[in-house]
Symmetry: C2
Subunit: 513 residues, 2 copies
């Protein structure tokens, strides 16, 4: 679709041109208030309404594969290659029904299939959708795609089905992103966050607050129109309450990104300690506990879980600190400086200390590490390892020595990595440090960098609004800040978006979704 748009405006403003609820064209007009301007723009939509087709099941050979086709002609295109014993016409069948038959290329039967029919708007994309369930051979999958393309369908781009669902108002943008996260989620916690997002968790709250704010800005803009009469349509005290409410929510959401992102990608954990302190033994112990759980599903490759353990559904990802192993044996060094960078990436550092070492050395190494992380949000767990080799009172002595260092984010745990004693204490500690209970309770966590950035920007803007309200700044400046909040909040749900943002988001989807 191409078109020319004629605009007329009399004050500085930002303009969006919408198709459905997507701003496909965006520009600013900054004019003196008395000027009249004529703007001519050409719009090229990234969207077309052709019928698209793709293999939606994982790539490879399986018992069955599903080929999905969406668009106005989806059912008709399928009809041209489908035949059943009773000579059914798919176009005449009810929505949400299944039909057994053959897919043909001319006289040649490609496969015996089951075709599912969904009709607009009651489908994933909101369009007519056909799902062909065929035998999962690569040849058949490819061949069926081929004949459907011959009959007029077009191969779908990555994420194009979900893009259409978004364009047709079946999902908002944050929900669409939730779909992609859901597909790649591999832990219980990541799954929980993604499915909440897909089901509209974050969107609803943001849309609600944005709606209320929109109300205020229209009143404030009314004030601007009557600016010479000094009226106040928007109740400032109500606005203050709303702004502070929005501010609080934005802060909570924005701050949840640290945890949310860690959950999505696995909580980064570094194990440090001198050579032979038991790092590998500890890692193996943690991994061994988990292997049985993670590897009992076909297709989970070992690569995938190599360095990830899952404790009660939360993934902990072990950062490669292999470098440490090659340090010299100089005790007081503990190889820590060489892994400084790794440590700064970790949410949790496990420091393995050895009862063989001098008390002074142990205290020194703990202090040194605490100093390194004091300005970060990294937690420290000092692990007194090899307790199986020492009498209880000696272990107790070290514990008492380190006790003053214990805080909310720094802990001391005794352990035998070799025999697994106290492993459950370490796991409990890890869960406590990342507030696993909060993850269970909290419905909404921000996991998406794009959302985090938009939230940060809208939080900054809402703070300016709050300050502006305090200092009674002019309405037009206040309106400007509020519009900025509205803009960034709208970006999260996709009420405001553009080609580039959509292109970025959906190109990361897999084909067939």
């Amino acid at each position: 679709m191409n078109g020319y748009i004629l605009l007329w405006c009399s004050k500085p403003t930002r303009i969006f041109i919408y198709s459905n609820h997507v701003a496909v064209f965006e520009f600013f007009i900054l004019l003196n208030s008395n000027q009249i301007s004529l703007i001519l723009g050409q719009i090229n939509f990234m969207f077309d309404n052709s019928t698209i087709v793709a293999i939606s099941t994982p790539p490879g050979i399986g018992a069955i594969a599903v080929i999905r086709m969406s668009g106005e002609d989806a059912v008709n295109i399928c009809d041209t290659v489908f035949s059943s014993n009773s000579n059914k016409t798919l176009g005449l069948q009810s929505a949400n029904t299944l039909h057994y038959g053959k897919i043909r290329e001319g006289e040649t039967v490609i496969d015996e299939v089951v075709v599912g029919i969904f009709k607009a708007p009651h489908s994933y994309t909101g369009e007519n959708v056909v799902e062909i369930s065929c035998h999962g051979s690569l040849y058949i999958q490819k061949k069926i795609l081929e004949v459907l393309v011959q009959q007029g369908a077009r191969l779908a781009h990555p994420g194009e089905f979900t893009l259409r669902a978004f364009l047709n108002g079946k999902l908002d943008l944050s929900q669409a992103e939730g779909v992609a996260d859901l597909i790649s989620s591999s832990s219980k916690a990541a799954h929980r966050v993604a499915i909440n997002q897909m089901r509209g968790g974050i969107s609803e709250e943001i849309k609600g607050l944005r709606g209320q704010l929109l109300n205020f800005i229209s009143l404030i803009e009314l004030e601007l129109d009557f600016s010479e009469e000094d009226v106040e349509f928007a109740n400032r005290s109500d606005l203050r309450i709303l702004v502070s409410k929005i501010g609080r929510l934005l802060k909570i959401l924005k701050d949840s990104f640290y945890l949310g992102n860690a959950i999505k990608n696995g909580i980064p954990v570094a194990i440090v300690g001198k050579t032979n302190s038991g790092k590998s033994t500890l890692l193996n112990l943690l991994l061994k506990e988990d292997k049985a759980i993670v590897s009992d599903i076909a297709g989970t490759t070992r690569d995938f879980i190599e360095d990830i353990i899952s404790i009660d559904g939360i993934h902990f990802r072990f950062i490669d600190t292999a470098g440490i192993r090659h340090t010299t044996d100089k005790i007081e060094q503990l190889g820590i400086e060489r892994t400084f960078q790794k440590i700064s990436q970790a949410a949790i550092v496990l420091l393995l200390v050895d009862l063989d070492d001098e008390q002074q050395t142990i205290v020194q190494s703990v202090k040194s590490l605490k100093k390194q992380i004091e300005h970060s949000e990294t937690h420290l767990v000092v692990i007194i390892n090899k307790i199986d080799l020492y009498p209880v009172n000696e272990v107790d002595k070290i514990i008492r020595l380190l006790e003053p260092m214990v805080t909310n984010s720094n802990r001391v745990v005794t352990l035998s990595a070799k025999f697994g004693n106290n492993l459950e204490v370490l796991e409990k500690t890890l869960k406590e440090l990342i507030h696993a209970d909060q993850i269970e309770q909290s419905d909404i966590l921000i996991t998406n960098t794009r959302h985090f950035e938009a939230l940060t920007k809208s939080y900054e803007a809402i703070q300016r609004v709050a300050a502006g309200l305090e200092s009674n700044i002019p309405e037009d400046l206040l309106a400007q800040d509020i519009r900025e909040v509205l803009h960034y909040l709208g970006e999260i749900t996709g009420e405001i978006t553009n080609d580039e943002i959509l292109g970025n988001i959906f190109s990361k989807f897999c084909i067939g979704k």
Copy 2:
């Protein structure tokens, strides 16, 4: 199911105990005709009627995955974890319908899914079947399996869905094997053979002939019962006609295995020639032509097609003759002896000769290779390579020299592997040698070793029947041979089978089929 069986019989016989049409227990009783025997046997069925569940789509992450559940309780089990906005009960829905809703574990939503319902006997397995189409994350796939198992389903064994389809009479055994071949088929020709088999191509003919033969044997056995009266219920001349017809068909089917098996696994081709004769160049040339066709489907890994080319839908598989490259440069050797074993495995040997070589050397190497393959069904193509480097009359001289060797199965082709000249002639030659036109025309090719063995045994038995008819052997011996034919033919379609055969066949299936 366990049970005790009491048998009473008065003549030597082979006895099968059937469940549906599967002989689950088989034994011979050889007695003197006046003896009475009592046989006690215990039967353990490999089959149960629990509800089974598996992921049916290829392993891994994709836009969607399908979880299939089959058994009497399939719909009810799904109902316990499924909820929709309109509080649908799946058990009350019509067959062949699709239902959108959520799969839950208690209060937790695992995924939003579409459930397809099939009802016995109108399903793949002949039982109640539910297909759950969920988001293709590993976590979700695993989790849904888990909750279904918690609700009473059992994880399916490889091929168990198809085994049930067979046990419930939806497919015969040869058709079931066709399903497995279809899934693994990666070329047009292999696909064509497999889908014909799945659709009952071979079964129907065999069942038809077996039915007619069964007719005769009952008449002959009637004669045995009246053996003292010297009657002839079975018309010997009709029987002769049938036996000869069966013999001809069995020979055609049996002989088609050589080609059918090659098509299924790719026609084995060996390229031989001295170092620098252009073997790699030729292989690359052949592969390059094909790459574009094979690699345009997502999920086709390069590994898979590394040494396979497809000419008009027929796969040619290049046998690794890497050994040749390390031979010394002694021309007359041509490295052939070192690859003798490889050559004997090939259906076609491509011998690359070099115009640089002495005429005598060339003739000698061709003669030597011909000698090696003279007792096999291996074809030889002598390729005069590097024709771009030599004047036409010199090339012609060599062609005339080799012309006397050209036969139906030995050819001479001139080529420039470097520039691709005459590539189409080589491809045409390859197709001619394996009778590609016959593949196009013939509907039925044997591709399965089990079928080949059964066909060979029944062919031997039918030849004994034919000879017996000529020499008028006693009815009981004739009947014995006919029963053997019936037995082996029945094995192909599964009219006669046992646990071990079924176990062997279905264990090779993928999970979820």
